[in-house]
């Protein structure tokens, strides 16, 4: 655990693994330290914003952080039509037939590591190694809402039309973000996701 300063009211806690991030995030949510207004998990860090962070920094290394079991979060199934514009390119880059790309993506169980980019955009870990590819060289200026993409070690669903550089392999009609819903995000840190292939 490494502490990095992030302004007068921020503290970035850097950890060795995504599992360690998950464990610290879960414990922070459970203890809800007074004065802390935001707890932002990410790939290898948890950002804390608020007051009383010096005291928390002294206390944190003494916390016991029970590992969060991979299968502990709620499981959500998301129907996907695997007809994305980059599907054949992903197959070519990974050296697999399209059917195998679809099989790998739709049999894996993903976990929401963190949210970012835009509200409700969840970074899902659990992408099979064979599908871990770089982003597109040229980002698209508009990615359609509901697009299912992959990039690096993550998969994600675009909640709304935005620019985006991920490889798009499919599309879902599931609405992952609705500001009028409580909570507004369907996919929250810790939630597990399985993609279910639909006939094209």
């Amino acid at each position: 655990m490494r502490f990095l300063p992030a302004g007068h009211n921020g503290l970035l806690v850097e950890l060795d693994s995504q599992a360690a991030v998950r464990a610290l995030y879960a414990e922070l949510r459970r203890r809800a330290p007074p004065g802390v207004t935001e707890i932002v998990p990410a790939a290898r860090t948890v950002l804390l914003i608020g007051s009383g962070l010096d005291a928390l920094k002294a206390e944190l290394p003494g916390w016991s952080l029970p590992p969060v079991p991979e299968d502990s979060g709620p499981l959500i199934e998301i129907p996907v039509r695997y007809d994305g514009p980059d599907l054949t390119e992903v197959a070519a880059l990974s050296g697999l037939p399209v059917t195998e790309v679809i099989r790998l993506h739709s049999t894996a169980t993903f976990t929401v590591a963190f949210c970012g980019f835009v509200p409700g955009f969840a970074y899902l870990t659990g992408l099979p190694a064979a599908l871990q590819l770089p982003r597109r060289r040229q980002p698209r200026t508009r990615v359609a809402p509901g697009s299912v993409g992959i990039a690096g070690e993550y998969s994600a669903i675009y909640p709304r039309a935005t620019p985006g550089g991920w490889q798009l392999i499919g599309h879902t009609d599931v609405n992952v973000w609705d500001a009028a819903r409580q909570p507004p995000a369907l996919l929250m840190p810790g939630t597990r996701v399985r993609f279910v292939a639909q006939p094209a």
Binding site: G7, G116, V118, A179, P184
Partner: protein, 284 residues
């Protein structure tokens, strides 16, 4: 009710933002220059949390359909009420049918028009702020639109001092979290010469042109949480300072963070103007 006869290029409803949802990817948002919004609200007896109009560079033309108390703070935009000059940073009574015209900013970027009772728009996740990055909150003002005025019992008339808009403001920074990712002496480079604000600046952040900050560690940084005022350095080595609508996470290293009291200076820095960075007292 207020009729928007001309909206201006970018006039937004803003309050103090929507804290508490960063873990879902929701930016804090809210007024880019918070003290200016608070000042305008206090001048009309609103609580600090009331929503007001954030006016960018050129003001709207508004007709009041009822009597209302108003105040205009922040950037200096010449305004007239039925043709007569409206004082800046003062509480003024507007009568029904009067026409308020707000001109182009002479200094600063963002002015705040508060109306006693607050602007009434549908709150999203507890805030009436428009977030230009994620599209949450009310749409920007449009010609022909009508704005409702709310009712607020609670009042806050504690004085909030007016800000002075400096020609070449100094932004005090705390190093980190990723200053060690930059070549030795990069913090000195950041602080040695002024940077120029580029036109590609908005409520998400202010992009700067000036000395390049080369990286020592060139591998990709896994996305991590961002704070208001973060000085992020993208691949081209030129820093940008994040404002109210900044994304919750980012994948470029942050060399330093601007202190909150200097954020309004960033929010009011005009494209083409210059600003300087300086280390905080007591920080080596």
């Amino acid at each position: 009710m207020i009729s928007v006869l001309k909206a201006g290029p970018l006039t937004l409803v803003q309050d103090l933002g929507r804290p508490g949802y960063a873990h879902l990817g929701v930016p804090h948002s809210g007024a880019a220059d918070r003290p200016a919004l608070i000042r305008a609200n206090r001048l009309v007896g609103n609580p600090d949390t009331a929503a007001a109009l954030e006016i960018t560079l050129l003001g709207p033309l508004l007709r009041f359909n009822r009597d209302a108390r108003i105040a205009l703070s922040g950037a200096h935009m010449p305004a007239t009420l039925d043709g007569k000059p409206l004082p800046h940073d003062a509480s003024v009574m507007v009568r029904a049918t009067q026409l308020l015209r707000i001109g182009a900013a002479r200094a600063g970027v963002r002015a705040y028009l508060a109306v006693a009772g607050g602007i009434d728009a549908a709150p999203v996740l507890g805030s009436r702020s428009t977030d230009i990055l994620s599209g949450l909150g009310p749409a920007p003002l449009a010609d022909g639109q009508r704005l409702n005025i709310g009712t607020l019992d609670e009042a806050d008339d504690r004085p909030q001092p007016a800000a002075t808009l400096e020609a070449e403001p100094v932004l005090h920074i705390l190093p980190g979290p990723r200053d060690d990712w930059f070549a030795a002496g990069s913090l000195d480079t950041l602080c040695r010469q002024p940077y120029t604000v580029t036109p590609a600046s908005n409520r998400v952040g202010v992009r700067l042109d000036g000395p390049v900050l080369p990286r020592r560690i060139v591998r990709e940084l896994p996305s991590e949480g961002l704070v208001l005022g973060a000085v992020q350095v993208p691949a081209d080595g030129k820093p940008l300072v994040f404002l109210a609508d900044h994304p919750v996470t980012g994948g470029y290293p942050v060399i330093a963070v601007v202190l909150p009291e200097d954020i309004p200076k960033v929010a009011q820095a005009r494209p083409g103007s210059r600003l300087r960075f300086a280390p905080c007292a007591g920080v080596a």
